[in-house]
């Protein structure tokens, strides 16, 4: 590719773009597809389906907290006829365990890396497909054994009941909890499968981004989206093996009688395990060594996508491209050394707690820099308030709340009080729902035309946004107060304790908000399915955006580009004079007035 002589327009015709892998029949085209765009769509529908499952589980949890021990509406009498339709405490632990599992492992991680990673990486760097298309297909199909394992674990084996953190001894010894038998083993197996899926994806993304960039696409000309996905892939490649190893150790503890995680001298259910000599704390270190970086795996791609979308919707170049890249890398590298802040109260060496505290405090810094840069990107822009913009601003607004409540968590003495209370739940829902999911909603609306060649409906999109935003704040903001009042997480009935008795009305308010939020998602699904078939047709570049994917047809065919893109400058060149347009696509070389050229060049110096 590099030997080609670029034409003045930056376009090089490809003689036969579909020659390398032609779409075959229906099954090879849509089911066992090796085309990254089809795999992205497969990932999207699977993860959205899982989002319904995870959301219903969340609503069941909220039902119990608002109306404890009352029969669940509709499904209650059918599911638990024996208990009079009420949620038992055993079932409640399984509910929140599965809610977290589904949302983290089957929704947020795969919708970011799987859907948008697959869709955007080859398109944005100017490649015809992923480096390893078959591995890519396999990474999608490995989701299904994971879904099967989680499903069986929940529906047939009684459900895992040790929380998504799966702390030993509760998770490690079958007799420790009612649902902790086969269900927990299946759960661990599911995590391993989804780990394989992520691993294949991350290897593929790294290889593709490093090796298959179009001519002229240097690292500092990559769109922020690609930076986010690239750094995420690196994080995953380094952190995930640790979780897999830990999970494997727990499986051998459960099945083969090794005892990595349980010490001697326990008495569980009036029976003493015959062996011992392990240490429960070891699991926590292994688990959080993955699961803390996982927080950034669930956030960095969104940070990247929002950077690109905000810049486009405000018609302004991204403020501080290089500081944004540097802060992303700083978040990722600091992310590896702060896992201990999940363990301040765990009984690990308190001196280590201090080191973790300083590192955790410092991680707030790059996040602050990013927030300021996004705000500066909006500043002086021409904002168009469409669904994409609204969701991006919701991302920013809620990320600020989640980031600031993180400072309380980082502060060790304060964390001692807040640890395992609803304050933590508020914090991570503001980050994972407030930031990540709003970013995902924006991204779905933004790249929908590239996926299906049609635009989404604005009215439906805005209604969905308003209801979701109101519902999310109504559900998650009061959680801060619950935390302050000392309500611990994972309580089936907090009102049993005197000092929490008065919290019922607040919990009921939150549940009503959650129901609003849950039902709002129906609008998203209606919008997606309606627009897929009946939405107005989109041209190549409906948003007047600058990055490479908008030079392809919507939707692009196999092999993506009908020309070889040449890249002449960085992404996000908005607010420049270019004929009658105010933006400059990455493939466009000329049409810059001399004074604007200077402005473009400063990009490399900032």
């Amino acid at each position: 590719m590099t030997t080609l002589n670029p034409s003045p327009t930056g376009l090089q015709p490809i003689l036969n773009p579909q020659a390398h892998h032609a779409p075959g029949n229906f099954i090879t085209k849509y089911i066992f597809s090796t085309d990254h765009k089809i795999i992205a769509i497969q990932f999207m529908f699977t993860t959205l389906l899982m989002m319904i499952v995870g959301g219903v589980l969340a609503l069941a949890v909220r039902w119990q907290l608002a109306f404890p021990w009352e029969s669940m509406p509709i499904v209650g009498p059918w599911l638990f006829a024996a208990e009079g339709g009420q949620i038992s405490p055993e079932f409640y632990t399984m509910l929140f365990t599965m809610h977290a599992t589904v949302m983290i492992f089957l929704v947020i991680i795969p919708i970011l890396a799987g859907t948008f990673g697959n869709l955007l990486i080859p398109l944005m760097i100017g490649a015809d497909d992923m480096a390893f298309p078959r591995l890519n297909m396999l990474s999608y199909w490995f989701m299904w054994p994971a879904i099967a394992c989680f499903g069986m674990s929940f529906a047939y084996a009684g459900g895992p009941a040790a929380g998504w953190t799966s702390y030993p001894i509760l998770a490690d010894l079958a007799q420790a909890a009612p649902g902790s038998g086969t269900a927990q083993t299946l759960w661990l197996l599911g995590v391993t499968f989804i780990g394989f899926s992520s691993m294949m994806g991350s290897i593929n993304y790294m290889t593709t981004i490093i090796n298959m960039r179009a001519p002229g696409m240097t690292f500092f000309r990559l769109p922020m989206t690609i930076w986010g996905l690239f750094i995420t892939a690196i994080l995953q490649a380094f952190a995930l093996p640790v979780l897999t190893a830990g999970g494997f150790m727990q499986v051998t503890d459960r099945l083969l009688g090794t005892c990595f995680f349980y010490p001697s001298g326990l008495v569980i259910n009036n029976a003493a395990p015959t062996v011992g000599g392990g240490q429960a704390l070891l699991w926590q270190h292994l688990f959080w060594f993955y699961s803390h970086p996982a927080v950034y795996i669930m956030l960095l791609p969104v940070m990247g996508m929002v950077s690109d979308m905000l810049s486009c919707m405000c018609r302004k170049p991204l403020f501080g491209y290089k500081p944004m890249v540097i802060s992303m890398s700083a978040i990722a590298s600091l992310g590896f050394i702060v896992w201990g802040h999940h363990m301040y109260t765990s009984g690990m060496n308190p001196a280590v707690g201090m080191a973790f505290m300083v590192a955790t405090m410092m991680i707030a810094l790059p996040s602050a820099v990013k927030t300021f840069n996004w705000t500066a990107t909006i500043w002086g822009g021409k904002v168009e308030f469409n669904t994409v913009t609204l969701n991006c601003i919701a991302f920013l607004s809620m990320f600020i709340v989640g980031g600031l409540s993180g400072i309380f968590m980082a502060a060790v003495p304060v964390d001692v009080y807040f640890h395992d209370t609803y304050f933590i739940v508020a914090h991570f829902h503001y980050v994972l729902f407030g930031a990540t999911l709003f970013g995902v909603f924006a991204a779905i609306h933004f790249w929908f035309p590239k996926m299906f060649g049609r635009m989404m409906n604005e009215k439906l999109g805005k209604t969905h946004f308003v209801l979701t935003f109101i519902g999310a704040n109504g559900t998650f903001f009061p959680m801060h107060f619950l935390g302050m009042q000392g309500m611990p997480r994972r309580y089936a009935d907090p009102y049993l304790h005197g000092y929490l008795e008065h919290l019922l009305p607040m919990n009921q308010f939150m549940t009503i908000s959650a129901i609003v939020m849950g039902f709002a998602q129906i609008l998203l699904f209606i919008n997606i399915f309606y627009s897929m078939f009946f939405g107005p047709k989109a041209g190549r570049n409906p948003w007047n955006a600058t990055t490479l994917e908008w030079t392809t047809p919507s939707p692009p065919g196999h092999g993506n580009f009908d020309f070889i893109p040449m890249v002449y400058h960085g992404p996000n060149e908005y607010a420049v004079v270019n004929g009658d347009k105010d933006f400059l696509m990455q493939t466009e070389k000329e049409c810059l007035p001399s004074n604007e050229t200077v402005a473009t060049n400063t990009l490399d110096e900032t």
């Binding site: 632990t93 030993p168 509760l170 009984g347 308190p350 840069n373 909006i378 009080y417 004079v577």
Partner: protein, 277 residues
């Protein structure tokens, strides 16, 4: 329509600030009397919380206000095109250094609170020499083992030890230390009123000290998922004066060793005695 959206985004930070300002007056704040901690360390933790709250509130109001203002300006932008700026070195430096300095200050400021709470070297000497009780968490109850009156807590249970379940009595006004254990799974010893929390790890014995500063009955709950009955590990810590505490121990001794004939059958200390600490 842009202005309407600006108002929409303005409404939420305002609602957040108003509800936070309301919180202490409607009982949404820390638990118990006037939201004040019942231990001196707890009061210091509260103070640290309020310092962080002030810092974050300023940042929250500032960033949200700037965000809404930027949107407002952007919605009314009559220029043909937006300003072409790629960044600003000076600004980047300013908004890295200022938050960095604030965060570093917060990090250093809180170190001695943490040290006083968890680093053994800083534990009050009297409490370390004479631990009050051994607390054992198990599914789903709290068990307490006190030494006999006038004796010290031993590592291993002694014949004359005193036992109680789900009710821990503690004298106020002096630092006390407990030895925290778990029999089965992981639990967490959480005293919301005193702002004390420490996980009980099976296989480890973790010392926890606290000093209650006013009498009362406080809830002791479990903060680490320990199985289906996690929510009902309900216990109380009864903080009373030293005299009342001693009277309680005497009463406990009488109840425990009452032989049915009106005599107290206090047994001699067992042979193996290995002092804790």
């Amino acid at each position: 329509m842009g202005k309407g959206w600006c108002l929409f985004f303005l409404f939420w930070p305002v609602a957040a600030v108003v509800s936070c300002a309301m919180a202490p007056f409607v009982g949404w704040s820390f638990p118990y009397d006037n939201a004040q901690a019942a231990s001196n360390l707890g009061i210091r933790i509260d103070d640290l919380f309020y310092i962080i709250l002030i810092v974050t509130a300023i940042v929250f109001v500032g960033t949200q206000a700037v965000l809404v203002y930027a949107l407002w300006r952007g919605a009314n932008n009559r220029e043909e095109r937006a300003t072409n700026v790629h960044g600003n070195h000076k600004l980047e430096l300013i908004w890295s250094i200022i938050p960095g300095a604030i965060l570093l200050f917060l990090a250093i400021y809180q170190m001695n609170i943490w040290a006083d709470f968890r680093i053994k070297k800083y534990y009050p000497e009297a409490a370390v020499k004479d631990p009050l009780a051994e607390v054992t968490a198990r599914q789903f109850e709290w068990r307490f083992r006190y030494p006999a009156i006038g004796k010290k807590l031993q590592q291993k249970p002694q014949p004359d030890d005193l036992y109680s379940v789900n009710e821990l009595h503690v004298p106020f006004g002096k630092p006390v230390m407990i030895q925290l254990r778990s029999d089965d799974v992981q639990h967490s010893f959480f005293l919301p009123a005193l702002r004390i929390k420490q996980d009980a790890l099976p296989g480890l014995q973790i010392p926890v000290w606290f000093e209650a500063n006013k009498p009362g009955t406080y809830d002791l709950v479990c903060a680490e998922l320990c199985g289906w009955g996690h929510y009902k590990m309900k216990a109380h810590v009864i903080v009373q004066s030293e005299d009342e505490y001693q009277a309680y121990l005497k009463n406990l001794t009488q109840k425990q060793f009452y032989d049915g004939l009106g005599k107290i059958a206090a047994k001699e200390t067992g042979t193996e005695s290995e002092a804790v600490e």
